[in-house]
């Protein structure tokens, strides 16, 4: 019931918004987007009190001939991601208040449609349904980037679309392959996740390796992992700020979440054989992207590269496949989602107030607006994982997890601690500190909608840095279950 | 079946008619002639159907021929209508000029 509502409500909301052409829809969109968040909170209460409640499940036949079910369920892990999604969407809508987009009704409609698809991806328990939601999520973001994007958007959006679609097709092949093998283990061809797990585990080592790579590539492109990342910086820079927030804050987590739920338990042998290679790629990505971030001038592009570094660490932790790594990955997914929304909003505010995001042209903003500087600093500290911010919990667990896999990989992954500080502090110093470099640049008070987003982000950063227990407790049983499947 | 004329002869005639039709479709550019050639090919097939129907003493083949003739008539009506529309727009019925869908 609750699970079904989480999909249906954003869908209806988006359809309503599509019909409201020419009307001011900001506030309506915001109210609409708060409803799924309320439902997610209700689901959280339900899950903590009565984890077996039937309201958290929905399972009905969809396409009989292929044995496809519309099966969605909320366990601790998917609820974490659903909470993140439903929490971020209102923030993203609020952050758009200062950008007066044309045709805003379809803009917000697309955002809510996207929310529906994302929530669906996180809840799906049926391989076919998962794939449908996975691809469905691509459509709204494609239009958001294409219609409201910046310079050269047609080319860049096209590349992004084709690149990710290309990756997804590999996953489709992998899933169909598994579907055909469910016959031997389940006695009937089935898309149910547990049947896919069983079918995957029954494969030989070589077959598992092949499936591992087929599915991994789709996720690796979505996250993205080195060297499949080149669509990402351009797309992040060109997309409208809200599009970037959706992409990096939530959509990226489809990939990492997919790794945990749709890859590791399916091919444990493939993981055992190829996990090392994948971790190596992830770790290379961390160092590589961090280095590139150091020399970026455009602040938005800098965050884009830092995002590659962060997600590399998350992927490495997941692929290490131990309790600390996976748990840390979930924590870091939440932290990263919240933090990048804050950082991208800051990039947007800078652009709106000063007309540039070039960190070499900005400077001295701290003396013009001290409160903004403080909030910026808090978000930045969350991003460089200072203890008692939300970023630290995840990062510590992740490095811990990777260390158990390989101390050397962990040492290189840990370089993010240093390099992250280098590029973040360098950009902060250039943008905020020192003397004003260009007399024409002024920076007045920040609009109240922006201010509220930043305040909420800061509060979350500190609250879950000091007391992450509700989140870890929520994830713990689900993580245990996944790990027990892997280690069976 | 007319005595003395074997089934082979019908088949040869039919094949000749069909080939004339096919070559006409391939070689000519005038739409009307192409159209006529298509009819020729249809009739070649009709001839074959009728011959075998008689040979096997089975009326099914002749029933088919009626269907084909009915369809061909409808086709002629629609086809000529299209052609006359094309002619009105392009002032020609040369197929080489009808390449607007190319790009």
């Amino acid at each position: 019931m609750l699970a079904g509502l989480l999909v249906v409500v954003p869908l209806i909301a988006s359809l309503v918004l599509f019909l409201m052409k020419g009307k001011p829809v900001k506030n309506i969109a915001l109210v609409f987007s708060l409803v799924p968040f309320a439902i997610a909170i209700a689901a959280y209460v339900q899950l903590t009190h009565n984890p077996d409640s039937s309201t958290l499940l929905l399972n009905c036949t969809w396409i009989k001939s292929m044995n496809v079910h519309f099966a969605i369920a909320l366990d601790g892990m998917s609820l974490l991601l659903v909470l993140l999604t439903t929490f971020l969407v209102p923030l993203i809508i609020l952050s758009s208040y200062q950008n007066n987009y044309d045709n805003s009704h379809s803009f917000y409609g697309l955002i809510l449609l996207m929310e529906m698809a994302l929530v669906g991806v996180f809840m799906a328990n049926d391989g076919f349904l998962f794939y449908v939601f996975w691809e469905l999520a691509l459509i709204p973001i494609y239009f958001i980037c294409l219609l409201w994007g910046g310079a050269d958007r047609a080319r860049i959006t096209f590349k992004f679309f084709v690149y990710t679609l290309f990756g997804s097709l590999f996953m489709l092949i992998g899933l169909i392959y598994l579907y055909n093998h469910t016959y031997t283990t389940a006695g009937i061809k089935s898309w149910a996740i547990m049947d896919l797990y069983a079918a995957g585990q029954a494969l030989t080592e070589v077959q598992q390796g092949a499936v591992f790579w087929l599915i991994f590539i789709a996720f690796a492109i979505k996250m993205p992992i080195f060297p499949l990342h080149t669509w990402q910086p351009d797309t992040y820079v060109t997309a409208p700020t809200q599009g970037t927030m959706l992409l990096s804050g939530i959509m990226l987590k489809m990939g990492t979440f997919g790794l945990i739920k749709w890859l590791l338990p399916i091919v444990p042998l493939g993981l055992a054989n190829w996990g090392g290679t994948a971790i190596t790629l992830s770790v290379i990505g961390i160092v590589y992207a961090s280095c590139i971030a150091i020399v970026q001038k455009d602040y938005k592009r800098l965050i884009a590269y830092s995002s590659i570094a962060h997600v590399g660490l998350i992927a490495a932790g997941i692929l290490a496949a131990n309790a600390q790594g996976v748990q840390g990955a979930l924590m870091q997914m939440l932290a990263h989602g919240v933090n990048v929304v804050g950082l991208f909003l800051i990039a947007d505010i800078l652009l709106r107030h000063t007309g540039t995001r070039d960190i070499d042209k900005l400077g001295g903003i701290r003396s013009m607006n001290g409160n903004f500087a403080v909030m910026f600093l808090i978000i930045l500290l969350g991003s460089v994982a200072l203890p008692l911010t939300n970023g630290f919990v995840g990062e510590f667990l992740l490095i811990n997890g990777v260390y158990q896999f390989s101390p050397i990989a962990a040492t290189f992954a840990g370089l993010t601690v240093i390099l992250g500080a280098v590029y973040m502090l360098r950009s902060y110093q250039n943008i905020m500190l020192g003397e004003r470099r260009d007399a024409a640049i002024t920076f007045g008070s920040v609009a109240s909608s922006d201010k509220w987003v930043l305040i909420i982000v800061c509060l979350v950063i500190i609250a879950f840095g000091v007391y992450p227990k509700p989140l870890t407790d929520l994830a713990e049983p689900a993580v245990k279950q996944i790990l027990s499947v892997i280690n069976k | 079946m007319i005595n003395g004329i074997s089934i082979n002869m019908y088949m040869v005639l039919s094949a000749i008619l069909f080939i004339i039709g096919a070559v006409g479709v391939m070689a000519r550019r005038n739409s009307i002639i192409i159209f006529m050639c298509i009819e020729l090919m249809l009739n070649a097939v009709n001839l074959l159907l009728v011959s075998f129907s008689t040979l096997h003493n089975d009326p099914k083949g002749q029933v088919f021929v009626f269907f084909i003739m009915a369809v061909a008539a409808a086709e002629v009506a629609v086809g000529l209508a299209i052609l006359s529309m094309v002619y009105r727009n392009v002032k020609s019925i040369d197929t080489n000029l009808m390449s607007n869908l190319k790009n």
Binding site: V393, N400, P407, T472 | T95
Partner: protein
């Protein structure tokens, strides 16, 4: 009573929140008072706890607040440990912290960022208290990074100055290098012992093989190198003098930089087991001590001299740790906190009097003009130089005695360091306070004694510098070494001195004699002959130039680390990312497009063509069917 331990960090946190949120609405005096009272309140609680600890069973107690991080078998409580070591550090931090807060009210009274300054200062005290109070390594790490953040904020306190900002950034980044080592060390401890709480690790330290313990100890020591400014990660500390002087006194002399020593004393069981790690600590310590002391010889900025002196003294403490003299090092931390805070605050008072001038070549003859500052600084200088019965003498002598027992070679270098220390400290003192006034006329007119909020802390610290030595009187005098007994419960391997009393007397006599001789030499040089530091850098001899430029270590680091990273990053971006990887991606796209361009030629729109190809196709199908 022990339950109240949470109050100790809570008070500065409240002070931080009040000043942080409402600072702008508060007047300077209220803001400063709130911050100081917060630390004073912590000091009072810490004092009560300190006495309480003596009566506790096992001399320790743990107070758990909540479960912080848990994942799988990893379970990290947010819990505090109160034992002789942490309770002693609490006293140092809150006690000296309070004095410096009071001092800052006077020192910063004209600054626009007054409230902000106290906000950061309270935050610093909060994190520093967390660092020493945690009952596990991760809470220590929280404080560890937290003080790093505050250090960053306070070094770059005057944020409009790019050079200060660079210094702040450098401090943070270099500290982070150490932090990574520390973090990996913590993780290795977790993996080896399945726990990171002190009680869960130390008691079964021996179950792990020695090479792992060595790795753990070395990783932890990397953390200590960063925070406590040891070779090769020391370069941030002299630059950190960009911050306001009270910050230099509190953070970069008395408390934060001794965190590394706290950490190693806390983990002394690892270092007792691993000979290799201990040896590394001792060698790095003595090298740093000697190296920094030589740089101190030719510095002219009063704060830089003190900064290098701090680096050098920290090196001496690590030397002590390396030879297993853990309690002696804590003793030296304590006395060093007294006299170095005093010297920094005194230097601040001098700078205050000179209207912001920090170059000792432009001072001179100040002893009659700012008497209290002069007298207190004089006491501090004697204390650091190791003249009995001042505090520095006892702590330094105790360390050196242990070093001699371990290795006479190390002892020789330690001795050399302390002679150099005496020399450059007296050089600073003589050049600043003796001779004739060399500043501008305006400055001469302006010179005045600081307000009482600044001088009272000086006097208190001077008194502590004088009597601090009684905390650890030498055992061979037949007097009880209080510090040694106090820390008994936390030191796992005791080493009692094997030296004969005669040797100990001899070492002590040598130390005093050499210090006196050096001071006499300095007196001859700077007072009798009135030699002044060279102002023209071109006239320096080559070796002097080398030393005055700090052996060009900063330039060296820039050349071998910073520049290559920038270069590689640029190459990664411009060549590798944009051209190679993205080139391949775009290449795939372009080739598909190209293939399409070729294939689409077939679709030329000629109906005849289509029909012919169709017929040919049919014929082909028939042919294949018949042939096959």
């Amino acid at each position: 009573m022990v339950k109240l331990v949470g109050l100790v960090p809570l008070f500065p946190l409240i002070g931080f929140l009040i000043n942080g949120f409402f600072g702008k609405k508060l007047s300077k005096s209220i803001s400063g008072t709130i911050a100081s009272v917060a630390v004073l309140a912590s000091f009072v609680v810490a004092l009560l706890l300190f006495f309480e600890v003596q009566h506790l069973p096992g001399h320790k107690a743990e107070v758990s607040l909540f479960s912080w991080i848990s994942a799988g078998t990893l379970n990290i409580p947010f819990a505090f440990l109160i034992d002789p070591l942490s309770s002693w550090f609490l006293l140092i931090i809150t006690g000296i912290g309070f004095l410096i807060h009071v001092y800052s009210i006077g020192y910063m009274h004209t600054d626009d960022g007054f409230q902000r300054f106290f906000t950061y200062l309270n935050l610093f005290v909060f994190f520093m208290l967390l660092l020493v109070l945690g009952n596990n390594y991760l809470i220590m790490f929280v404080g560890w990074e937290g003080v790093g953040l505050c250090s960053y904020l306070l070094i770059g306190f005057w944020f409009k100055n790019t050079e200060y900002n660079n210094a702040a950034k450098k401090a943070f980044i270099i500290n982070r290098i150490g932090d990574l080592g520390f973090l990996l060390g913590i993780i290795l401890i977790f993996i080896s012992y399945g726990s990171i709480t002190y009680s869960g690790v130390f008691e079964k330290a021996g179950i792990v093989n020695e090479s792992t313990i060595t790795t753990i100890a070395l990783l932890l020591f990397i953390g200590a190198m960063g925070k406590s400014a040891q070779i090769p990660l020391y370069t941030w500390l002299p630059d950190a003098m960009a911050g306001p002087t009270p910050v230099s006194a509190l953070i970069h002399a008395a408390t934060m930089v001794t965190a590394g020593i706290y950490m190693i004393v806390r983990s002394n069981v690892f270092y007792s087991i691993s000979e290799v790690a201990s040896e590394v600590v001792a060698i790095v310590g003595v090298a740093t001590a000697l190296f920094a002391a030589t740089i101190g010889l030719l510095q002219n900025d009063i704060k830089k001299i003190l900064a290098y002196s701090t680096v050098s003294q920290l090196g001496l403490m690590f030397l002590g740790l390396g030879v297993g003299a853990f309690s002696s090092s804590v003793f030296h931390v304590t006395t060093h906190a007294f006299f170095k805070a005093l010297l920094f605050l005194g230097a601040g008072s001098v700078i205050h009097a000179m209207g912001g001038e920090q170059d000792i070549r432009k001072m001179g003859g100040l002893k009659g003009k700012i008497k209290i500052t002069f007298l207190t600084m004089f006491i501090g200088t004697i204390a650091i130089s190791g003249i009995p019965p001042f505090s520095g003498f006892f702590s330094k002598d105790e360390i050196l005695a242990h070093v001699y027992e371990h290795s006479p070679v190390l002892w020789f270098f330690g001795m050399l360091t302390s002679m150099l220390t005496a020399f450059y400290m007296f050089r600073m003192l003589y050049v600043t306070f003796w001779g004739s006034f060399r500043g501008t006329k305006e400055q001469a007119h302006h010179v005045h004694e600081s307000p009482s909020s600044m001088t009272i802390p000086l006097i208190v610290l001077a008194a502590l510098s004088v009597i601090g030595g009684t905390l650890g009187l030498p055992e061979f005098w037949g007097t009880p070494n209080w510090m040694h007994h106090h820390l008994d419960a936390v030191i796992y391997r005791k080493n009692t001195s094997l030296l004969t009393h005669e040797t100990e007397w001899l070492l002590m006599g040598l130390a005093v004699a050499s210090a006196v001789a050096v001071i006499f030499f300095a007196h001859q040089l700077f007072v009798k002959n009135g030699v002044l530091p060279q102002t023209n850098e071109n006239k320096l001899k080559p070796w002097q130039k080398l030393v005055a430029n700090k052996y060009y270590v900063d330039e060296f680091y820039t050349a071998i680390i910073q520049k290559p990273i920038d270069l590689i990053s640029g190459a990664f971006h411009k060549f590798f990312d944009v051209q190679l990887i993205d080139g391949i991606v775009n290449g795939v796209g372009t080739s598909v497009k190209g293939l399409g361009a070729v294939v689409r030629l077939v679709q030329n729109g000629n109906i005849g063509m289509y029909v012919i190809s169709m017929v040919l196709g049919i014929i082909l199908i028939f042919l294949t069917l018949f042939i096959l």
